[in-house]
């Protein structure tokens, strides 16, 4: 047996090295080079994705770091005066009493209506019906003041009955509010940017807001935890 094997080796000695090299190369290619190469290309994709995400996060972190938190809070408070988080009948009744008194009108009756006065699907609202007695210049002034009020509201109905010098007016006004958003979004979501147009609006809101504005902390704006912690 040994003699036969050694004879075979001698006979095919020339073919032996190429055969071993061929088999080894095949093994190297199939089990090492090919998997490593495919892993490398997949890894490049993963690396690119990771780098893009990293860049996004770094930009977001930098933008957040550069934000003036006090300035943001002030602007938020003005925005909350203009568009509160929820219905606030007490405040709005006070606003109308003040506006009508300043316009020289007499507030005879005030009715709070139902919902459905929202400007769009995002905003909610309710209607207030005012019955007033006063003069025509007073009514003109009141309509102007409603348009310039700190809280965003819109006249949605006017009925005027004139008795020579005095006017009897029924005004329907839509008052708006907007609950806080329920979540901030993903960690790598883009940071919202306040446009120039929105900055001008905020400046205008600041100029017409009352002198003392209640402060609100962001912690009270977003819901915290589950409504029912046991579920």
């Amino acid at each position: 047996m040994k003699k036969e094997i050694s004879q075979l080796i001698i006979k095919y000695k020339a073919f032996l090295l190429p055969f071993v090299v061929g088999v080894s190369s095949l093994i190297l290619i199939v089990f090492v080079i090919y998997p490593q190469l495919t892993g490398f290309f997949k890894g490049q994709e993963d690396l690119q994705i990771a780098e893009q995400k990293l860049k996004k996060l770094q930009v977001k972190a930098s933008d957040l770091e550069n934000l003036d938190e006090d300035d943001l809070k002030k602007k938020l408070n003005f925005a909350l005066v203009a568009l509160p988080l929820e219905k606030d009948y007490a405040t709005i009744i006070g606003v109308f009493q003040r506006l009508t008194a300043e316009s020289g009108m007499s507030l005879e009756n005030l009715q709070v209506g139902g919902g459905g006065a929202g400007a769009d699907k995002k905003t909610s609202g309710y209607s207030i019906k005012l019955e007033l007695l006063g003069t025509k210049p007073g009514l003109d002034q009141l309509l102007g003041k409603i348009g310039q009020a700190p809280q965003v509201m819109k006249v949605s109905g006017i009925e005027v009955t004139s008795f020579k010098t005095d006017v009897n007016v029924a005004l329907t006004i839509d008052v708006f509010y907007l609950p806080a958003p329920t979540s901030l979004g993903a960690l790598d979501s883009d940071l919202p940017k306040i446009t120039d147009e929105e900055q001008k609006l905020l400046a205008r809101l600041a100029s017409i807001s009352p002198a003392s504005v209640p402060t609100t902390t962001p912690a009270t704006l977003l819901p915290r935890g589950k409504p029912d912690p046991f579920q």
């Binding site: 490398f40 490049q44 005027v160 009955t161």
Partner: protein
């Protein structure tokens, strides 16, 4: 004198020598190929190791950035609520009150000499006015003014729902102004 070469070796020897030379080339090429493959393997493995380090580095930096962003959660919340609110306010203010605009239009249209007994403005901004007009001239002036305001002031249609003249020469009219849009 030209050299004469005589090959005393048998022809089988030269044939086998040629075969041996051929196989020797094949063997050399095989070894060279194998060495190249080894080199390629080492390059690929080195690239993978480097890539793996880069990915680990990127993940580490990502975690650091995420931690930093989480620490600024309060600022992000303030900004998100502010943006949300300002966008909504902008949307509301972009659509002015049709009723207020119609009221001002009615003020411009009806002169102070005309007594407006009642003025109703509906949800679409359409105006219904009951007016007492003291004279024929004022009535003509009013109708002319309304005609001018057709199209220019956004009045789509003017309807005189009723017109009556009293014994004292005053006119009582119910006018309906329908606005376009």
């Amino acid at each position: 004198m030209d050299k004469i070469s005589i090959n005393f070796l048998p022809s089988e020897y030269s044939v086998s020598q040629k075969k041996k030379d051929k196989w020797s080339i094949v063997q050399t090429l095989s070894v060279a190929f194998f060495l190249l493959l080894i080199f390629l393997t080492s390059v690929v493995v080195a690239l993978r190791v480097l890539q793996s380090q880069n990915i680990t580095q990127a993940k580490k930096q990502t975690e650091e950035s995420e931690t930093k962003i989480t620490s600024f959660k309060s600022r992000e919340a303030t900004l998100a609520v502010l943006k949300n609110r300002v966008e909504a306010i902008n949307q509301i203010l972009k659509k002015p009150s049709k009723q207020t605009d119609s009221y001002h239009l009615a003020n411009e249209t009806f002169s102070t000499s005309i007594i407006i007994d009642s003025l109703t403005i509906d949800q679409n901004g359409n105006i219904v006015a009951t007016a007492t007009i003291p004279s024929n001239d004022l009535l003509v002036k009013l109708l002319s003014s309304l005609e001018d305001k057709l199209a220019s002031a956004g009045i789509h249609r003017v309807e005189i729902e009723s017109l009556s003249r009293g014994r004292d020469g005053t006119y009582r009219a119910i006018l309906s102004l329908k606005l376009s849009g």
